[in-house]
């Protein structure tokens, strides 16, 4: 049975048993090559076809999923059973069909999902890494193509193809490690040679680092380090569900200055990023969503259920991780602002942090170990710093901005430049 027939059959059966039904189906193939030291040791192909069913009956929402579409009936039964236990809530219907541009936003026709292409990316990674005297410890290249489809009993039916290419490399020199990666829907965005060279540079340049005294320093967070801290804490604060449940630091601050006025944060589902899409995971047409405009908090993110429950409007912010039930998230979160030469004045450059996930998501407080810290001045990387911790608060940190770099890149679902921060707390050893 093809996907269209399968979805129609599920909706037809579901409609008899619940007021509304939605089916989300994902199928795809991915190939990756993994290196151990500098040789490919594993080549892997993953084929996935799964579906997730959601039923709504008298405000009771039920969900279930299965990796075996042939068992959709058991999955529908489980979704209905689940709905019978969930507490009923205010519900005003799934979205019907809308006029949207059905052109795929994140599918690269030139991207071939085959083992040879992955092996080619690995060769480029290794070639890049050979620029510095380091050992390669691990790395990978992955290519994938998938089709996701959503259909509901209101008549919405959207399908889109997505592609993804990603590379990463880990290196070591003595006890100095280096890591770099790149990820995009488009193969042409992946400069594997450059990724390899950077991974090697960070390990090589970190050798012989000197201690740093505890104190307050100007800091430059690379896009990777900034994404780790902003992704762990700030995004959770923007979730309308967390706001209404009393779990967000940002609750009650709409219209207030909550970051430096140079900073804007918005979700652009039409940007060139990993999460680009014209419809969200509940079939609501997406649009650009300005969370923070020039430092002022403008809005929070809602999906349908949270919006209906609290009398808000959905912001088309439903996403699904791993094909499961929809939840609130971002498509492509862009951190934007006027770029400047932030590397001129002396600062501590932080390439990555260890332990960002241990930050306090409510208060924003964190203390992390830093990876590959260097002094930076006059635009150049200087002496390496051996080891340090960085303690701060994500919400306060975004008000202590010294400037934004002109180097935006994709880090997961975020697209952001490096960020210079004034007077941050570094703990030396």
């Amino acid at each position: 049975m093809n996907t269209e027939e399968l979805l129609e059959r599920i909706l037809a059966e579901g409609r008899r048993r619940a007021e509304e039904v939605e089916v989300f189906c994902g199928e795809g193939i991915g190939i990756s090559a993994e290196i151990k030291q500098a040789i490919i040791g594993v080549a892997e192909e993953s084929r996935i076809r799964g579906l997730s069913i959601r039923t709504i009956d008298h405000g009771r929402i039920g969900v279930s999923g299965t990796g075996d579409p042939a068992k959709w009936q058991a999955c529908l039964d489980a979704a209905l059973a689940s709905g019978r236990i969930a507490d009923p809530q205010e519900w005003h219907g799934l979205p019907g069909p809308a006029e949207i541009d059905r052109k795929p936003l994140s599918a690269d026709p030139a991207l071939a999902v085959d083992a040879e292409s992955a092996a080619g990316l690995i060769r480029q990674l290794l070639e890049g890494a050979s620029a510095y005297p380091v050992e390669v410890t691990g790395g990978s290249a992955g290519l994938s193509r998938s089709v996701i489809t959503i259909a509901n009993t209101k008549g919405a039916y959207y399908s889109m193809e997505r592609t993804h290419a990603g590379v990463s490399l880990e290196t070591i020199s003595g006890q100095s490690t280096g890591y770099e990666f790149a990820s995009s829907p488009f193969l042409e965005d992946i400069d594997a040679g450059r990724v390899g060279e950077q991974a090697a540079f960070f390990a090589a340049h970190s050798v012989g680092g000197r201690d740093i005294e505890s104190g307050a320093y100007d800091v430059i967070l690379s896009p990777i380090a900034a994404a780790q801290l902003i992704g762990t804490v700030f995004l959770q604060g923007l979730s309308g569900k967390n706001v209404k449940a009393g779990r967000s630091y940002l609750a009650g601050k709409l219209g207030e200055q909550c970051t430096d006025e140079r900073l804007s944060l918005y979700d652009d589902p039409f940007a060139r990023g990993i999460g680009s899409t014209a419809w969200d995971a509940e079939a609501v047409p997406t649009r650009r969503l300005d969370f923070v405009r020039e430092g002022v908090l403008q809005c929070f993110a809602y999906d349908l259920r949270t919006a209906y429950r609290y009398g808000e409007q959905t912001t088309a912010s439903a996403v699904r991780s791993g094909g499961g039930a929809p939840g609130i998230g971002v498509h492509n979160l862009i951190v934007d602002g006027p770029a400047s030469e932030i590397r001129d004045e002396r600062a501590v450059y932080i390439h990555d942090v260890v332990g960002a996930h241990t930050a306090n998501p409510l208060s924003g407080d964190f203390s992390v170990e830093v990876s590959n810290p260097f002094w930076i001045e006059g635009g150049e990387f200087g002496e390496a710093i051996r080891s340090a911790m960085y303690a701060g608060n994500v919400f306060e940190m975004l008000g202590e901005i010294g400037g934004l770099g002109n180097d935006p890149r994709i880090v997961g679902r975020l697209i952001l430049p490096s960020i210079r921060l004034n007077n941050q707390q570094i703990i030396g050893k």
Binding site: K36, S363, E369
Partner: protein, 442 residues
């Protein structure tokens, strides 16, 4: 195309149940189904791995097709992989005290709601409880004729409470997960405990960062064991040259009396009856009396590195196995908690865990405590929040001054290579002569 030198198939089929109660509202309570298989072949050089849904290894056609696909993948590999010899056997899975399948979803939801309700103390503004249960039916077979078939039932819950006062928010979180059966009955005390922690933290101060004498409670010392020692002893990191413990077998890397073990045979949350390559699991003493004894291995890293024990291959369903920890702990010493605090004198006690991370190549780890207390004159005084600890693996183990006699194990989850597996870790209270504590207090 040549025949594979070796192949194995691991199918995991089952169901996962999740219940989510947020501020008294049952958000969702339902079951999903999965049936994933991983087919691995060893080609002339390295691995070809195929992962797919609802695969039937009994079907000759399906199997030969999957093996051929995996062999085509293996053709791009260049690293000649050898497999170490290891005994194949499976332990019985511990009996369930109460099988969660005999409890209906309504009752589970009601019991979880009781725990969630118990967390609603004054000043608590949000409570959230989650129950998770997974029933895994695992089938393993390999080209040498080894087979294993077993069922694992894992279940548990977490409860989080958020307290707020004058714009300040803090949280407390408790959880418990087990392999020995349904565990939601009469657990309201954990809900209260999460709430009490959240409320107490409203009055806690910020810790000042710096180097201190530090006491770790059993929960945090367990995370320390996992992050600071466990990961760096994993055979894949050793083989890749990505661990400071490489080449140090027989070397003193910790204080006298220090015994660190990874033991998948214990009935903790990290229990496995047999590893993901069909290899018999066994207790592995990583460090004994302060001396590095063994790495933990899968068959490939055992052959490549040696100095250790296979049987530590684990996989999330639908993923190829990696070298993983199971139940990891520091064995008891003989100091009491009071002796440890007295010996500490002035320092800091760190309690509970918000998780941690390690860079094994650099030998640097970080982990975060839920809260702590300043220790003054051997007494716990002011409560502090948002404290973390970082250190260097090779130094920190020498800095252990005292090992307590009150070991506790705690269930959790460990992420590596994009896969999450259930683990437990534990330790008694330990005293470190110096540790770098990160905090925002100035």
């Amino acid at each position: 195309m040549s025949e594979p030198r070796y192949y194995d198939v691991r199918c995991v089929r089952g169901e996962a149940t999740l219940i989510d109660i947020d501020n008294g509202v049952v958000e969702s309570a339902g079951t999903s189904f999965f049936d994933r298989a991983v087919v691995r072949v060893l080609g002339p050089m390295g691995w070809g791995v195929l992962t797919l849904d609802h695969f039937d290894p009994e079907s000759k056609g399906e199997l030969s097709g999957a093996l051929a696909s995996a062999m085509r993948l293996a053709a791009i590999t260049g690293d000649r992989v050898e497999l170490g010899e290891a005994p194949h056997a499976a332990l019985p899975v511990p009996a369930l005290r109460e099988d969660p399948r005999t409890v209906d979803l309504e009752e589970k939801t009601r019991l979880l709601a009781e725990i969630e309700a118990a967390a609603r103390l004054p000043e608590v503004v949000n409570t959230r409880a989650r129950y998770s249960e997974s029933i895994d039916q695992v089938r393993f077979l390999d080209s040498s004729g080894n087979e294993a078939l077993y069922e694992m039932v894992r279940s548990g819950f977490s409860i989080m409470a958020v307290a707020a006062r004058n714009g300040t928010m803090q949280m407390g979180r408790e959880s418990d997960h087990t392999i020995t059966g349904f565990d939601l009955r009469h657990r309201q005390a954990l809900g209260e405990k999460a709430a009490e922690t959240a409320v107490a933290l409203l009055d806690a101060g910020l810790a000042k960062g710096g180097t201190f004498r530090t006491v770790l409670d059993p929960k945090l010392a367990g995370v320390f064991t996992h992050e600071a020692v466990g990961h760096a002893s994993e055979g894949d990191h050793i083989r890749e040259g990505n661990s400071v413990l490489a080449g140090r077998i027989g070397e003193r890397i910790g204080c006298e009396g220090l015994l660190i073990v990874d033991d998948p045979t214990l009935p903790g949350y990290g229990f496995e009856p047999v590893d993901a390559e069909g290899v018999a699991v066994q207790r592995t003493e990583i460090i004994r009396d302060g001396i590095l004894q063994a790495y933990i291995h899968n068959r490939e890293t055992l052959a490549a590195v040696g100095d250790g024990v296979a049987g530590h291959a684990r996989a999330e369903h639908g993923d190829a196995p990696l070298v993983r920890m199971s139940n990891t702990f520091i064995e008891n010493g003989d100091a009491t908690r009071d002796e440890i605090l007295a010996e500490c004198g002035d320092g800091i006690l760190l309690k509970g865990s918000r998780g941690g991370q390690v860079d094994p190549g650099r030998g640097v780890f970080q982990f975060n405590a839920e809260y702590g207390y300043l220790i003054e004159n051997g007494e716990c005084t002011r409560m502090v929040r948002d404290v973390s600890l970082s250190g260097e693996i090779l130094k920190t183990l020498h800095n252990i001054l005292l090992i307590g006699n009150d070991r506790e194990m705690h269930a959790g989850h460990c992420g590596k290579g994009g896969q999450i597996v259930p683990v437990s870790d534990g330790a008694p209270h330990i005293l470190l002569s110096s540790a770098t504590v990160g905090g925002r207090g100035r």
